[in-house]
């Protein structure tokens, strides 16, 4: 049976991926072209979502914003999954001192409220896409590490691992060929759900002015700017908010749908 959650999630994520991929071809306007005679124009046939306080077309800025948002969240979650997965695999496979040391490092990162950790890192590293990506990866890697470690710890006791060892397989081969595939399902669910969280976090950092700096058209910054026009031009804060909600909802539904299908035991439940 097709899951409605999975389908709706796929549609929402699919549209936003499409918009991000084809942003330059979706409008005749440029995201940076100002038109001061046409500031804060409401949505119309000319400007589908209206214009911002510099008369820039909001639709094309949102489309380019999708690129930034997805690039930052996808790359930070990828780094987090690679790093966390490796740490978790090594930790769960070798156990003992290696596990103890690696898990203390994980605990160190878990000592901070996640968004505060990201803010602190951006404060030290400075703003910009690279800092934000690193900061978010630093927040998310611990979850994959703990998930993969837990799965590895239980799988490593199973007979097929002993059999592989008896057949002469080396550590690296057992980890990559036998154990890693067992973790793939739960990890992909966790990653999908993390992308949603990463998008909100990136937008939150930009909203506070710590993320990627203007004039880059981020959703968070546009939203922060929209607050100044709350009394008169409500849509300026509404449009980027809807864009974030659409995307996050999409990834969350996709993650939930994947979980129902791939992980009925709920290993990746958060």
């Amino acid at each position: 049976m097709r899951s409605p959650t999975l389908c709706l999630g796929a549609v929402l994520v699919g549209t936003i991926l499409f918009v991000a991929a084809f942003a330059p071809w979706l409008s005749t306007y440029s995201p940076d072209a100002m038109d001061m005679s046409n500031r804060l124009a409401p949505p119309s046939g000319e400007h589908v979502l209206g214009t911002d306080n510099f008369g820039r077309d909001l639709w094309i800025r949102m489309a380019y914003g999708a690129r930034i948002s997805l690039a930052v969240s996808l790359s930070s979650v990828s780094i987090a999954v690679l790093l966390g997965g490796t740490v978790g695999l090594v930790s769960g496979y070798f156990r003992g001192t290696v596990d103890a040391v690696l898990m203390r490092i994980v605990d160190l990162f878990l000592g901070f409220p996640p968004f505060i950790l990201a803010m602190a890192l951006v404060a030290a590293l400075g703003s910009g896409a690279l800092s934000v990506t690193v900061a978010l990866a630093a927040v998310f890697w611990t979850e994959s590490a703990r998930l993969v470690r837990g799965i590895t710890l239980s799988e490593v006791e199973r007979d097929y691992v002993a059999a592989a060892r008896a057949a002469g397989a080396r550590h690296f081969r057992i980890m990559t060929r036998h154990l890693l595939p067992r973790a793939a399902g739960p990890v992909s669910i966790l990653a999908t759900l993390s992308i949603g969280t990463a998008i909100v976090a990136e937008a939150g950092l930009s909203f506070l002015g710590f993320g990627i700096e203007p004039p880059t058209p981020t959703w968070g910054w546009t939203l922060a700017y929209g607050v100044r026009y709350l009394r008169t031009d409500m849509w300026l804060a509404t449009v980027p908010g809807l864009a974030i909600l659409w995307t996050v909802l999409g990834f969350n539904l996709l993650g939930d749908g994947l979980r129902d299908r791939l992980d009925p035991r709920g290993l990746a439940r958060r």
Binding site: G111, P113, V200, F210, L245
Partner: protein
């Protein structure tokens, strides 16, 4: 329970040491010379040299780390670069506002999440269940800052029902003074930030409670309680909910951490004069000693609440005590 409590307390020590090490390392992560970065390119060489000395950058790294740890233990979090005041004083001034907002939201999130989740599970498949699930899914995906802005736009700007920004009298002093006007004012200011901050977590908790309740409701002891002729409300409260709540309790610590992050955004939207707003100012000014102080206090709050949640969880569920003691035997 005492043995568990002592062990759990002892486990806080390495976490605290790690947090301290990380907060110290923030200054090392700054690319280039931190003194130049903080004061700007146009700063005089004398000012830069003086700040380098103040930050201790002229001393070797291990000495600085040791000094930093020792200073923090004595309650000295350093000087703010721009406010020329001890960081601890600034932070302690802002702490009560954040505690008020965070605990009010946490309470609201837990109570409404448990209530919604329980009702959704009891009337599974009903309109209420479907509606609650949809609202929860939206609540989970809604960015806290956008929700805050929408609520502010409708309830304050358009309809003028509630104050848009600021904090009234501190709630505790309004409560103890018995001044009704101060109390209404304090509550009126508290409503929007609290609701904004709570909704995401209420949604997460309601989903967990619903799932956990659905499992519990089919357990044999619940079925047996029904068979003995006990009323639905009695069975729910005394048998099902008290067991369904345990898995929820285990995530409350993590929830509180996420809530503190949301508090930063909520405070800056509603001009709530707490630690979050202070963090935002400190980061924009690149006042790193102040950033370090705020981050340290946030981490301490988080660790403390995690400790309390774990203790509560263990006192309600002996399995947790035994598992933890066994793991560290």
């Amino acid at each position: 329970m005492t043995r568990y409590a002592l062990l759990r307390l002892w486990l806080v020590v390495p976490t605290l040491a790690g947090v301290l090490l990380f907060v110290f390392a923030l200054l090392e992560l700054v690319p280039g010379d931190p003194a130049v970065v903080f004061l700007g390119e146009n700063a005089t060489p004398e000012a830069v040299a003086s700040l380098r000395e103040e930050l201790g950058l002229d001393r070797p790294l291990p000495v600085r780390l040791f000094d930093y740890g020792w200073d923090v233990l004595r309650g000295d979090l350093g000087q703010s670069i721009f406010q020329r005041e001890p960081v601890l004083d600034i932070v302690l001034r802002r702490l009560p506002a954040t505690l008020e907002l965070a605990f009010a939201s946490f309470l609201l999130a837990v109570l409404s999440g448990v209530a919604l989740g329980t009702m959704a599970a009891l009337w599974r498949g009903s309109f209420l269940d479907v509606a609650a699930s949809a609202v929860a899914q939206l609540g989970v995906s809604m960015p806290v800052f956008w929700l805050g802005i929408l609520l502010m736009a409708w309830l304050s700007v358009d309809w003028g029902w509630l104050p848009a920004v600021g904090r009234g009298e501190p709630l505790v002093s309004a409560l103890t003074s018995g001044d009704i006007r101060a109390l209404t004012d304090a509550l009126a200011h508290l409503v929007l930030p609290t609701v904004t901050l709570a909704i995401h977590h209420a949604a997460v908790i309601s989903r967990l409670v619903r799932a956990s309740m659905l499992t519990t409701l089919h357990e044999e002891y619940v079925v047996a309680a029904h068979a003995r002729g006990l009323t639905l409300s009695h069975v729910t409260a005394a048998h099902a909910l008290s067991n369904a709540i345990l898995p929820v309790l285990s995530v409350l610590g993590v929830r509180f951490g996420a809530l503190l992050g949301g508090a930063v955004l909520t405070e800056s939207i509603f001009g709530w004069p707490g630690l979050g707003q202070l963090a935002v100012t400190a980061i924009s000014e690149r006042d790193l000693p102040l950033v370090q102080g705020v981050v340290l206090i946030f981490a301490l709050m988080f660790i403390l609440v995690n400790l309390l949640v774990d203790l509560a969880h263990a006192s309600l569920d002996p399995r947790i005590r035994f598992a933890t003691l066994k793991a560290h035997a």
